[in-house]
């Protein structure tokens, strides 16, 4: 009875998208996350307009470790490069690599999960056991060994990270597809002779969207963190390309003298990851009103 009431409540007045936005907006932290991310994305997009790439990469011994000034807002690093420029160009790298890897793993994991969840039985067993094996290896270690085997390059790094998080997506998609498989509307579709592909694309995937979107958002944050970690140990983005993790690595020896040098990339990482996690959380609540009430 109350279920029905709720159904009625969510109706009228606002469209579905409007409703989701309305609920999302109420989560202040998620909203802050979204704003942070938008600012970060705009900065990354217009980076060339703000500061030249050269400033972020060209080494200049005479400018080593300068404190913040009007010319260098965040000062310069041990190689004389402008930290602000590197942060902004680093955002470009982090965001694009993070988003691209996650979409790649979403594609792989999503397909595997949807197929496993929909068909069940042996198909499910085989695919998911394979995913379990991947899952048993810590993702960073897995990525490390893939990069170590294939050589350090941006493509290899992305591939490694994408493979490492494929099982997470496979599991989430499978778990959201499985209950839908037995829904009566899927059976209704079968009763009309609908093809499997159409059932999956039209009746199942759109309804499994919520958890997938949430997972994707949070995983982008994770991917950025992983890239930075790998770069920090020298296996990620290769110098001189600016990247937050390698920036941290560059200045780690000067932490005592110049804490700001460490703080800038550190805060950039924290803010971005925080933003993605908050947005993911906010989306989860907004897409699934049951959790909130």
């Amino acid at each position: 009875m109350r279920k029905e009431k709720k159904q009625v409540k969510n109706s009228k007045k606002r469209s579905r998208a409007g409703m989701i936005w309305y609920r999302f907006r109420k989560n202040k932290l998620a909203l802050i996350g979204l704003i942070v991310l938008i600012v970060m994305a705009i900065l990354a997009l217009i980076a060339p307009l703000i500061v030249s790439y050269e400033k972020a990469t060209k080494q200049n011994a005479s400018l080593r470790m300068k404190p913040p000034s009007a010319e260098h807002i965040f000062g310069t690093d041990p190689y004389g490069r402008d930290v602000f420029a590197r942060i902004i160009w680093g955002a470009r790298t982090s965001l694009s690599v993070g988003i691209e890897t996650v979409f790649f793993s979403l594609l792989m994991g999503g397909t595997i999960g949807a197929v496993a969840g929909y068909f069940g039985g042996k198909v499910d067993d085989i695919l998911m056991r394979f995913m379990d094996i991947l899952l048993a290896i810590p993702s960073l270690v897995l990525a490390l060994s893939i990069v170590a085997a294939l050589g350090t390059s941006l493509t290899n790094l992305m591939l490694a990270l994408a493979i490492a998080r494929t099982p997470q997506f496979a599991r989430v998609v499978r778990a959201s597809v499985m209950p839908l498989r037995d829904m009566e509307y899927v059976e209704a579709a079968r009763a009309c002779g609908t093809s499997t592909a159409r059932i999956l694309l039209k009746h199942i995937i759109p309804n499994a969207f919520g958890p997938i979107v949430v997972q994707t958002t949070i995983q982008i944050g994770n991917a950025i963190l992983n890239i930075s970690s790998l770069s920090f140990v020298g296996l990620g983005i290769q110098p001189p390309a600016p990247e937050w993790g390698s920036m941290l690595s560059d200045v780690k020896d000067y932490m005592r003298q110049e804490p700001l040098q460490v703080l800038a990339p550190g805060i950039a990482i924290i803010l971005t990851v925080f933003a993605f996690n908050r947005i993911g959380d906010g989306l989860r609540d907004a897409l699934d009103p049951r959790l909130k009430n």
């Binding site: 009875m1 109350r2 029905e4 009431k5 009625v8 409540k9 969510n10 007045k13 606002r14 309305y22 109420k26 009430n293």
Partner: protein, 342 residues
Amino acid sequence: MDEEKTIANPVLEVSDLEVVYRTDEETVYAVNGLSLKVNAGETLGLVGETGAGKTTLALSIMKLLPERIGFIENGTIILDGINVTKASPEAMRDLRGEVVSMIFQDPMTSLNPVVTIGEQIAEILELHKTTLSKKEREERVDRMLEMIGISPERKGEYPHQFSGGMKQRIVIAMALACEPLLLLADEPTTALDVTIQAQVLNIMNSLKERFKTATIFITHDLGIVAQTCDKVAVMYSGEIVEYGDLRHIFSKDPFHHPYTVGLFNSIPNIKSDAPRLSPINGMMPDPTIRFKGCRFAERCAHCTERCENEKPPFVDRDGHQVRCFLFAEDGEASSKTEVQAQ
């Protein structure tokens, strides 16, 4: 005054109750000015369809409305002399189980799956009947199980080892373990098969007689009402539209609310040979809108302008109350009563 008390001693007295559910999106007016009385040992059938406010009423009595959403806006609920609307959470905890218990529709979710059924019944006794010794408690548990037709030897088993009908019987045993004054049964048999439903109803009837528990039986099924209740209140959209003894409600005379008549005509009856059912046209009004007049007006065949603008009063004939202008003393519509009789 005193005399009246001894004759009819109300266990529960609800007056002018108004309950709303308020969310960010909207306000649902679930119960709109409802008054009723339940006397000791009496079974009141609360009949109505989805959204009539039956469950909301029961939750208000238990003070278990969803927090931060459900609010009692107005009115009082006097339970065994205590005003529930003003009672503290501690006082309510003492009342629940001891003075009032509730049975829910789904027996599967009312039992804790990892605790044996014997322990679950004993736990309630432990909370409320603190004077009982452990041995006395165990004896009481055995007796309760026997009464619901489950062998006391099975008290060490877990809920999943019982069928749906048995689980609902166990829930009933739990609800009655402390011999409460009032039992709220919210569609307790709706999830069960007919033959099992008959068994459960049978047990409820015999337990009620034995413990003299006053009961509010919430149901949408007029058949169950006929078989179990003494008094009936027909609810529609948060209001009581008709109230009376069982014989009043099931009488063939034309003094009935049009909704009650519609309800009777729309239920399939194995005893009737009518080839078609006569449904009530339209559907329940939007609960987020406040009404000036009769809530049933838009579906009613006898609707007049007055019905839309003015709340009809209860017309009382011999304890049988109908809330409709058709029967009002000053009513213009009294000539229509015959039409309604069919």
